[in-house]
Symmetry: C2
Subunit: 295 residues, 2 copies
């Protein structure tokens, strides 16, 4: 059975528009989420998203989600071949007061599909007609990312740093803000990962102390490897980043956005960015669809 | 009108047992909470809790709560002169996807009263008959607190660090775990603030980089000042803490717990702890009750 527009959300398999107030996802941000682009009813990079969700669940000591169940529920939600965004949340579930989860805690899984409309915009706002072609303008945020190896890389529900950073500007010509950690290393955008080309080599920040390890970041790293393009994952200083030859952003909804300016410093949209953008688009087309039923 | 046990929660003034799935408190932990001890229907340190909630709201750019409305709703919930715990949440409210809050966002306020029962235990578990007399045993947690001045001190809903730390042990003889920040400074317990007496001087960790500035911590600092007892708020190294003459914890539900052991190192329950515990109990009795209607 597919779902109509009335109840676009499934909570533990049932149509719902609310969560119990005892939900630990609300009380403590005790959970995870995935944001998945859907093209003509087919989610992109499904296996990578579910793989990341499972790895992150293990790091938070959350019970592993059943991948087959998630696929079956995504199939129910998607129905017609529409474009849009599929979101999955996995939380510790309802619980009594206290930070320590009860041993009887039953995780909550929640899936929601938003067809592509003005209210489900595909990621950071931008004024240029096609940011993937024209490139985007960025700023450097004042709000820093705290460093914590126990949480670094995880796409969890503790996102106040991003909420504060995103309030620092509202100029729609600025598509994204870059965030540093407390030590002054450049980590990522508020909702994107960032790559640089320095002296012909691709560099992306190390995320062992802070940041979210995005699925599209993994896609870019895999494509660079397949193309035998040298890549380095390491701490990146802001001054070094601003001196780079090329810069681009990635996330699951926009795929890859070339950067044409960071706080007034202009960047050319260069050959490495172009080549990786083409590879990412091809990988996204190849990586569409849900696994076969029962697979 | 007072509330029965059927709907112990008010969401924006209406009895409710759920929150919309679009609630940003759930999506991003974009909100705050207060935990208030209630004795015979009277909340303790009401003004201090509401004052902290307002200060924290300002730091998150959340619309200020109406103090009079919160008091009126607390009065509705509390009704009969029962002991228990009153919790208040203030969040950014429902919103579309995206970290930046919409300008039209309407905050959610939620109040809930849990009468004192086995399921609403007054804070950290302890086996001793009266931890306030016998003292409690602590451990040092492996999970560290990330440092971020933008969030330090705020009682916000991003609490995954505490959730991970609280899962490190389940021995009920250990009442609480102490947490260090990434730089190795001792900051607080998972749900308590911590004080030490070193060479006759009261010391509590500086919370400008990490931690929650608890209402009972403020009460202890105020009482120490009233007693002309020397206090120092500054970074505290673990080795220094373990060499202290006395140690105690504070939170709104337990008030003040003397510490008798940290990871095998014994502490005496000394005169400073005793004197401050008596003062805190007196302040709690004096600080009971809601403001007059219309005040």
């Amino acid at each position: 059975m597919t779902m109509g527009g009335q109840h676009p959300t499934l909570v533990n398999g049932e149509p719902a528009d609310s969560l119990p107030i005892e939900e630990r996802g609300f009380r403590y941000g005790d959970g995870l989420f995935e944001t998945i682009k859907v093209c003509a009813g087919a989610p992109e990079f499904w296996d990578a998203h579910i793989g990341r969700l499972c790895r992150d669940a293990e790091r938070l000591n959350l019970a592993q989600p059943e991948a087959g169940l998630l696929a079956a529920e995504a199939r129910r939600l998607l129905g017609a071949p529409r474009d849009g965004v599929l979101r999955i949340w996995l939380t510790r579930g309802p619980g009594g007061p206290g930070y320590r989860p009860e041993k009887t805690a039953v995780p909550t899984r929640m899936l929601r599909f938003d067809p592509l409309t003005a209210t489900a915009s595909p990621g950071p706002a931008a004024t240029s007609p096609d940011p993937a072609q024209e490139g985007v303008r960025l700023r450097i945020c004042q709000t820093r990312l705290g460093q914590n190896p126990a949480l670094a890389g995880i796409k969890h529900l503790n996102r106040l740093e991003q909420v504060l950073a995103a309030q620092e500007w509202d100029d729609p010509a600025i598509a994204e803000g870059l965030m540093l950690d407390g030590a002054g290393h450049l980590i990522e955008g508020t909702k994107t990962n960032v790559f640089f080309v320095c002296e012909g080599r691709l560099i992306t920040p190390d995320l062992t102390e802070a940041g979210v390890a995005g699925v599209l970041r993994e896609v870019v790293l895999a494509e660079a490897k397949r193309a035998n393009f040298p890549v380095k994952i390491r701490p990146v200083r802001l001054a070094e980043a601003l001196a780079a030859e090329e810069c681009f952003l990635t996330n699951s909804l926009v795929h890859l956005w070339p950067v044409r300016e960071i706080d007034g410093k202009a960047f050319a949209i260069g050959p490495v960015t172009d080549a990786l953008a083409r590879r990412v688009e091809a990988a996204a087309k190849a990586g569409r669809g849900l696994p076969e039923r029962g697979a």
